[in-house]
Amino acid sequence: MGTFMMRFFLMLKARLKNPYTYVWVLLMAVSLWLVNETVIPSRNSSEVVILNLAGECGDKILNILENADEKTTECTYSAVGDEETLRELVRRGQARCGFILPADLKERVLSGDARHAITMVTSTFSVKSAATRETVFAALFRVMNLEMTENAVRDYFEDPEAASELIRERYEYYLGSEEVFRLEYEVFESPESRDEGFLFDRSDPIRGTAAVILFILSLYSGSVFYGKDGKFFSALRKGERMACIFLHELSSVLIPSVFSFVIVRMLDAESVSLGRDLACFAVLVVSCCVWSGVFVSFFRKNETYLPAVSVLLFMSFALCPVFFDIGEYIPVIGYVVRILPPALYLYML
């Protein structure tokens, strides 16, 4: 036992002195930062942004939109400060669409020259923007209808000023009353339905990326058996050789795995408890070491081994639930892919 411990510490010491260890740590840190900062919008972005240049008229429209009944409203409307921000949010898919209310909106609507008055900004990933346009128009119409009506009927009254005052008073009354058209809601118990979420259900991009990089690192370190160092292992007896291969793999992935675990916890500590995360991560590290020890024994030359590692790299990203869970759609793949350490780890979480 003492010999194995000594060998392990010597291998670890060699790893600490190897600059490539820190290259892998850097690669891990950069990759996890990149994945964490990459914002793929959710399938049904409900954010709608509005740039109000129309002053008081725009404020009223925004007020109606922002204070709509949450229970029956799909979208969240919010104001933005400038056009560039609005376009950027829409372009990135973080907002479903955007509306620019121009400074002369009120004048144009009242003069009947409102053609193309409001700019609706949509993007490649905009959904239901035509329906959102209806909501914005309904708010605009609610704000402007009184003045449009007043302007239209002014000439038909003998005393337009007095009539206007009464029209305003009665208009406010009717809009809050039950005398105008209204909807009545009857709520029923929701039927149980399967959640239709396509992506991001079982997948975990941050932990998945860390797991795949560790897996590839362990496989990569396995290529040492084809070089001069490999002769050391082949000189050992079978049982001793297996133990030493395992320790060698462990020493290769230990430092990057500690760093990656710390980075993963820093980026996402809430979704998984510390104890569970640690236990699953330990299983990942051990399974990576065992996997590469076994996998390397199937190949005789580095020229055939390294392309196979490239295939595994692609397979891990495509089949393991890193960015999307293919097992949700083809359950057989979900079970078979558990043979790969990253998938085993991610499904265990």
């Binding site: 914002v39 799909e74 700019t119 009506t149 209204r182």
Partner: protein, 406 residues
């Protein structure tokens, strides 16, 4: 000169051998790459697609006008994007919403249209689930907007007729109501004219299929480059000496390696285009509109990839870059894997896997200057001069390194 040809012949023979022995690996990687590209395409495409919910519509009594209106409303793009109506009786509508057949139901009272028209305003009954999914919320929001338009119009008409009865109007009440109704109709029917649509593209190419076809091709080409490690593996001193003695120094061997890589990449591009073209040919034969459109986009992407002015300079530049990296790594056994990692980072930061618009700003700023971004960009835009300059510089860098070391 004979020795040079002999050397080229040997290297091509080795290339054919390496290509055939690595063909299975390349096919597996290509299949995974194309599958992943299709999955990413589906993901991003699904962001811009929303399934309409099924709504039961029940009209009590025989109200043909309401049915006509319903059909008109269903034809509007804002409505068809959110929901699909199905006419049914009230019992079926109630049953349907409980068993999940319908997401929601609208139950209109008898003579609904006539009564709303004469100002009686019977309320429309809406059955909604206690936990509303996004689709039903969208429908509910649309319905609220429609109801808001109706009650706003009514509020205006009632307020004016009330004022008319106090202060007197120069026209009859009925004429005033008809006049205001026509003004409201004009505004409501022409509501889309109020809006000017401005489209912000989230990709720097025409469509997602072209983007992912070109990206998949680029990934396969770069992965193929990781297989050129055999060209740079260390030779024995005797071989090196024999080559030098026959006038094949590091510069000449560099040219031969470059030529071998270039030929192989051209071959892979042609094979890729053939596969995609065949896929588009079969998709075109399908009757579904979506598949037909996909086939048309695939054909467009093939058109870009078979344009020699777009692709050959990029392949030239890729070969130059590969040459530089292998020369830097001095024939290490793991240089293929290191090159793969370099390519993966460049591809991701360069916006070839996920569109740049979703990447962090800092990554985009770096990615814009990386070769992978420029390669993808130039495949679309055909930046011949830039690619040729890049290729020459990369190749010259590799040659200088080889020459210095020799």
């Amino acid at each position: 000169m004979n020795y040079s040809f002999q050397y080229i012949r040997i290297e091509f023979k080795r290339a054919v051998h390496a290509f055939l022995s690595g063909a299975v690996t390349l096919i597996i990687i290509s299949a995974i790459t194309v599958g992943s590209a299709a999955a990413l395409y589906t993901l991003l495409q699904s962001l811009g697609v929303s399934e309409p919910v099924k709504i039961a519509m029940s009209i009590r009594g025989d109200d043909s006008m309401s049915v006509v209106l319903l059909r008109l409303v269903q034809g509007m793009d804002s409505v068809s994007a959110v929901c699909r109506f199905e006419l049914t009786d009230e019992d079926e509508a109630r049953e349907g919403v409980l068993d999940g057949t319908y997401a929601s139901a609208i139950i209109l009272p008898e003579n609904f249209y006539d009564e709303v028209n004469t100002g009686i305003n019977p309320p429309a009954l809406i059955l909604v689930p206690s936990k509303m999914p996004d689709g039903v919320k969208g429908f509910s929001e649309l319905l609220s907007s429609a109801a808001s338009l109706v009650d706003t119009v009514e509020g205006g008409i009632y307020a004016v007729t009330d004022a008319g009865s106090v202060y007197g109007m120069s026209v009859s009440r009925q004429d005033m109501e008809a006049y205001l109704t026509s003004i409201a109709y004009d505004a409501l029917l022409g509501r889309t004219k109020f809006f000017e649509e401005s489209f912000e593209t989230s990709l720097d190419v025409d469509d997602l299929i072209s983007y992912y076809t070109v990206s998949a091709c680029l990934i396969i080409l770069l992965v193929s480059c990781t297989g050129f490690v055999y060209l740079y593996s260390r030779r024995t001193r005797a071989v090196e000496f024999a080559l030098r003695r026959n006038g094949l120094g590091p510069v000449r061997t560099g040219f031969v390696r470059f030529l071998v890589m270039m030929m192989q990449l051209v071959l892979i591009t042609v094979l890729f285009v053939l596969v995609i073209r065949t896929a588009s040919f079969f998709l075109e034969k399908r009757e579904e509109e979506m598949l037909y459109l996909a086939a048309s986009s695939l054909k467009d992407a093939c058109g870009i990839l078979i344009s020699p002015a777009n692709v050959l300079p990029v392949l030239f530049s890729i070969c130059g870059f590969t040459h530089l990296i292998y020369c830097l790594l001095k024939g290490r056994e793991d240089s293929g894997l290191i090159l793969l990692i370099v390519f993966m980072i460049m591809l991701i930061i360069g916006g070839c896997v996920v569109p740049s618009v979703f990447l962090p700003d800092a990554a985009v700023r770096i990615g814009e200057h990386l070769p992978a971004f420029l390669w993808r960009d130039d495949i679309f835009s055909g930046g011949i001069i830039r690619e040729l300059i890049m290729g020459i510089l990369f190749f010259a860098g590799g040659e200088v390194l080889s020459w210095v070391r020799s």
